[in-house]
């Protein structure tokens, strides 16, 4: 029984896993997908492959494991050099792409999380910070069609999870994090990116995610998680 060359350990609800899947799809790489039952029922194999952070996604290529979605995307682009170009070519553009991906993960994701797990005055403060973060993020897009230019690239793959999550959380929490007032261009990009075929057909069903998010939020407030 030969091991498939590329194996991806992930979870259906994990948008970090999706980032890696999109990179693989863009390159036309065949892979075996293993769904992990996170967070409480991780497989022995996953824990053996990523003993350091014990998290998904984990990519295994020719038996060698890698973790951290953005690291994996760069690895995919570095290794399968023919076909679609995910990272920009120019070193300065690459530095910019990495900078903004880090900003999106460090500031925007945590801002979004803070808004959805706070209430009252604290939430108002978090919301203000989140709105500012998204306004800043819009600078990386400018008037381009995608963060990558005419085609989607590394930064689009990194940030799409915001396009997916923000509208859902805005509905659950009844706030507005990205709108025509603070980030009109980013809001337009949300619509454009979610309409890209590869992305549209791979995102988990919105109603399922809505229910899951609502559930997690309730669990958070009742102290269960």
């Amino acid at each position: 029984m030969a091991e498939k060359e590329v194996k991806l350990f992930g979870n259906w609800a994990s948008t970090y896993t999706l980032r890696v899947e999109w990179a693989l799809k863009l390159k036309g790489i065949e892979y075996e997908y293993v769904n992990e039952d996170i967070p409480f029922n991780k497989s022995e194999e996953l824990l053996r492959l990523n003993p350091v952070t014990k998290k998904i996604p984990v990519l295994v290529h020719n038996g060698k494991p890698l973790a951290e979605s953005l690291v994996i995307i760069e690895y995919i682009d570095d290794t399968w050099t023919k076909g679609y170009s995910i990272m920009p070519k120019d070193p300065y553009d690459r530095a910019q792409a990495r900078f903004w991906a880090k900003f999106a993960d460090d500031k925007c994701m945590s801002a979004m999380y803070s808004v959805s797990t706070s209430s009252g005055e604290a939430q108002q403060k978090m919301l203000q910070e989140a709105r500012e973060a998204f306004q800043i993020l819009e600078q990386a897009l400018g008037s381009k069609k995608f963060f990558g230019g005419d085609q989607i690239g590394y930064l689009d793959l990194a940030i799409t999870l915001l396009a997916f999550w923000i509208p859902i959380l805005e509905e659950i929490v009844s706030v507005s994090m990205v709108d025509n007032e603070n980030a009109p261009l980013l809001k337009e990009w949300f619509t454009r990116i979610l309409d890209v075929d590869m992305i549209k057909t791979s995102l988990p069903p919105r109603d399922k995610m809505y229910e899951l998010s609502k559930q997690r939020r309730e669990q958070f407030f009742s102290g269960q998680i």
């Binding site: 951290e68 994996i72 690895y75």
Partner: protein, 233 residues
């Protein structure tokens, strides 16, 4: 020596490990640059060049700013490909491993240093925090064994990306050992890393930019008093 159209400026400060990372990378590539030393009050140039985080280091190459220390190190490696040593590994898997561990280091070590810095010397609190840091370094020790493959550095024969990421933290680690009277670089627990740290600090590209421990301790006292009297920004 800078040639025309290759103007390099670095906004930073000598005690910062993040700034040190960039200086080591520039040294490895044998690049000349103008150091623009920041004080406790942030300069206009810094605020203008890094409006998002307002932090150093910022590399300004021919007028274009690049921010975030390890992103700058990669930029340097990708831009000056024929000068000096290669900083990132040549193999794509090794590169990914170096980036993974760098992310791990940045997630754990700067925070640990900040926590330890104001602690009372010899306190139970400090001992506990130091133990946590040692445990983190023990995980990294395993990575060192795998990455170095028996050679002197994470990068092999010469220092590379991951050496720079971790090695830059050594100035603060040694200063904390003195200031807070704790042990972190314990030979019995992290033998590989302790030997590595000596080699790293002695390296040509590192020596002149790694501040002496006593100087760091003096600076720490100034930093702590400034932090005590200034509102957080």
């Amino acid at each position: 020596m800078t040639s025309e159209g290759n103007e390099i400026k670095l906004i930073g400060a000598w005690p910062s490990p993040f700034v040190m990372r960039v200086r080591i990378a520039l040294n490895l590539k044998k690049l000349g640059y103008e150091m623009l030393e920041e004080t406790f009050k942030k300069s206009e140039l810094l605020l203008k060049s890094n409006p998002v985080y307002k932090k150093m280091p910022v590399l300004i190459h021919d007028g274009k700013p690049i921010c975030e220390s390890m992103i700058i190190v990669e930029y340097i490696d990708e831009t000056w490909t024929s000068d000096g040593a290669s900083i990132l590994p040549s193999d794509s898997y090794d590169r990914a491993i170096a980036r993974f561990w760098t992310a791990y280091i940045d997630n754990k070590i700067p925070d640990a240093i900040s926590k330890l810095r104001p602690m009372v010397r010899g306190s139970v609190e400090a001992e506990a925090e130091a133990e946590k840091l040692v445990a983190t370094l023990q995980v990294i020790e395993e990575a060192f064994e795998k990455c170095s493959k028996g050679q002197s550095f994470f990068g092999g024969n010469n220092i590379g990306y991951l050496d720079i990421a971790l090695g830059s933290c050594l100035a603060w680690i040694k200063a904390l050992e003195k200031m807070v009277e704790i042990k972190i670089l314990i030979k019995e627990k992290i033998p590989g890393l302790v030997s590595w740290s000596e080699r790293f600090c002695a390296h040509d590209a590192v020596r002149e930019v790694m501040p002496e421990t006593d100087k760091m301790v003096e600076f720490a006292k100034v930093l702590l008093s400034v932090m005590a009297t200034t509102p957080a920004n």
